[in-house]
Symmetry: C2
DNA sequence: TCTTGACCTTCCAGTTGCTGGAACCCCTAT
DNA sequence: ATAGGGGTTCCAGCAACTGGAAGGTCAAGA
């Protein structure tokens, strides 16, 4: 399979796939003409990567997960640890964003949003909290 | 005021403040020795920037907001629009993260997390959803 | 057979918002 | 005189790609 087909199947842009090769996440074969030739196992890895990335794992997480995936003797606890750490990060991010949303929606509600120059949003941005 | 004092007051690292000057968000004066000399208005802008950035506005948003801030004739609707757009983005991000969290916490719950190699997390990462 | 167009290749640069480090100047106190 | 704690510039790098240029390859149609 050429990169175009793989790209469609995996839902990743060709550029991204080449980048993943650059940083050593996959190592597709090469045809005599220089084109990359993807095996099923490469396709598998790319699907794995695509999914892990949409779940927000970093590339380094992915590298570790791929290694564990390849390792028949891995302990599921290793994978679970990575996933749990990642989960904790996500929880933190969500609550940060919720705080921001609350502040901001409060400001938007307070703002008349008309032609008058008086704007509570800008006013509140002038000062740091606490 | 020198950069160190401003840094403390605004809660921004000196590097960040220099960077903000580089990209034209502020234009402090210079002392004869070459040191930056910050006026109250610079300090104000930096506080504004710090607050807007903690609220997750992009630098380009900040640039626009600063311009509106400087403009006595601005319409509060302009500011409100930016804030509302930003709010919508945040809402989207939150719900994306919540989806991810749900998927991931489901996976973590399913995973035995012991020494056995069988791991539902890796298994589920193999395939794309839908 | 030639050409067109869609592929593919590499490499270099840019994105966002800083951050680290090197090499150097300045000012005050001892 | 020197030690320290400021300050300055510039260059490089982070994550995870993305865009573009310049060129090689291949299958199909006139």
């Amino acid at each position: 399979m050429n990169i175009g087909d793989v790209s469609k199947k995996a839902g990743l842009p060709p550029k991204t796939i080449r980048y993943y090769e650059d940083i050593g996440l996959i190592t597709p074969l090469r045809d005599p003409n220089g084109y990359r030739s993807f095996r099923d196992s490469d396709m598998h890895k790319l699907a794995f990567l695509g999914r892990a990335r949409t779940l927000g794992f970093t590339i380094e997480d992915c590298r570790t997960l791929l290694a564990l995936w390849d390792d028949q003797d891995r302990a599921s606890a290793d994978v679970r640890d990575i996933a749990k750490q990642h989960l904790a990060q996500i929880e933190r991010k969500i609550s940060d964003l919720q705080d921001i949303r609350d502040t901001l929606s409060h400001l938007v509600r307070e703002c008349a949003g008309d032609g008058r120059p008086d704007c509570p949003i800008l006013k509140s941005l002038e000062t740091f909290p606490e």
